[in-house]
Amino acid sequence: MEDIRRRIRYNKFWNYIFMIAGLTATFVGLFLLAVLFIDLFIDGSERLTYKFLTSFPSRFPAEAGILSAWVGSFLLLFVTALSAIPLGVAAGIYLEEYAQKNWLTNIIEINIANLAGVPSIVYGLLALGLFVYFFEFGESILTGGLTLALLILPMVIMATREAIRAIPNSMREASYALGATKWQTVHWHIFPYSLGGILTGIIIGLSRAIGETAPIITVGALTFIAFLPTPPITSEFPFISFKWLMDPFTVMPIQMFNWVSRPQVEFQINAAAAGIILMIMTLIMNGIAIHIRYKFRKKIKW
């Protein structure tokens, strides 16, 4: 009896040890994140005004703003989403539902997993050669958007595949047993049931893209822009213009980098303020992703 109790005490001792270690590890992460955010906020809060959002960058720190940067980020993400989502989702569905499992698809699979881990600057170099010089898109929003699309394409493909794999096989069999084709099964079941997971993956991919700097600098984004791209809506027929796709641009992280690298202290404050906005944008996007995941999980249970 005494032996058993001693043994239990000993076993539980290690249980407590791990609990404390795990708790510490959790708090280190949370604490650092909080410190980072608070520090940024203390530094930058004085510049967080409406005027900051609506002003172009300037030589005078007090007058400089991030208008061209957030508009650039927004348009870039728009191009990225429009190109990466259809390609990535279609590729993911094809690989999961259509492709036969053989050595070729295995190689494709391994390559896509590897692509997700390629440093982003390498994508920048690829895009520089492909979009800027070969397709002659120039140092434009189109080039930047497509570059980020390349970057998040593997993430979208993998998220799509993971979401599809979570669908039980009994759903496919139920559909096929009623005489459905593969496309009918994808259209009525596979796609709608995996949409939550796919959207979550897309948004997480986009929120990574919004913070990317290296590949965007590589393809030639400007660091100082005091004008906006051509408006997409015009007063003359056909009222929609795609000229903005070919305009030069800058994005939030580049604007930040530009300010940080200047000697004046006031510009550091601007950088911190821009950092807060960028972080809030990312947090909102991740929040939406979590919300979508929660909503779809509630609706579909197997």
Binding site: P168, S170, E173, A174, S175, Y176, A177, Q184, W188, Y193
Partner: protein, 256 residues
């Protein structure tokens, strides 16, 4: 069996998973608008055999059929590679072991087979959904919540919904793969009553591990063992005076 019409004729059927021969020279007649039960111990190939009838094996690689399953009266070999498996599944439907309704409304579950066939006319859909739910003895329980999620139903109701879903496509043969193994005794007896009811409309083949169930619902029983049909005949004869020693051992519970 003089007055009984054959609905399907299985001739020298072999089935391979990869290089694994899992069905060996199976021969069997399926009688129209009767229930044929397939019994046998786990792993004897009864489910594999059942899934040949609607070409479910075509969904996965490395599966191979040999021999013939002739569907009558057209006299087509439904396992021939010249026949599109989708055509076979349009005519022969299936109810699975675990209830597997789609995460959609009750209505959409039953309507799905028609949507696959390009029927989108609301009144036809409603009419057929109601008729199928009535045939599946589920209408009275769900008529007020036909637009509610199918997952809100109990396990037994879900299985009857799956039967309604299959019936909505007016199949010529309905396959049941151990349809009650995930259900409680009350839900089980409802499904069994339903199967007895349904044979007036459709030819039924049922796989079951429950011998009492086979005895209660079927007219003909095939006893399978390690991929072969050991004995096939009228259910009451199989269960009272089996001619094979193996059959007798199985139905008296000496193994299985």
């Amino acid at each position: 069996m003089v007055n009984e019409n054959k609905k399907a004729e299985v001739k020298n059927l072999n089935f391979y998973y990869g290089s694994n021969l899992t069905l060996k020279n199976v021969n069997l007649s399926i009688i129209e608008k009767k229930v044929t039960a397939l019994i046998g111990p786990s792993g004897c190939g009864k489910t594999t055999f059942l899934r040949c009838f609607n070409r479910m094996h075509d969904l996965y690689p490395h599966n191979r059929y040999e021999g013939e399953i002739i569907l009558l009266p057209e006299n087509v070999n439904i396992i021939s590679s010249a026949i599109d498996p989708i055509e076979v599944r349009m005519r022969i439907s299936m109810v699975f072991q675990k209830p597997n309704p789609f995460p959609k409304t009750i209505f959409e579950n039953v309507a799905y087979g028609m949507r696959v066939r390009g029927i989108n006319n609301k009144s036809i859909l409603y009419e057929t959904v109601e008729k199928s739910l009535r045939s599946a003895a589920l209408w009275d329980e769900v008529k007020d919540r036909i637009d509610k999620p199918a997952f809100d139903l109990s396990g037994g109701q879900q299985q009857r919904l799956c039967i309604a879903r299959a019936l909505a496509t007016t199949p010529e043969i309905l396959l049941f793969d151990e349809p009650t193994s995930a259900l409680d005794p009350i839900a089980t007896s409802k499904i069994e009553e339903l199967i007895v009811e349904l044979k007036n409309e459709v030819t039924i083949i049922i796989v079951t591990h429950n011998m009492q169930q086979a005895a209660r619902v079927s007219e003909h029983t095939a006893f399978m063992y390690i991929g072969e049909i050991i004995e096939y005949g009228k259910t009451d004869r199989i269960f009272t005076t089996p001619s094979e020693k193996l059959t007798e051992d199985y139905i008296t519970g000496r193994f299985g």
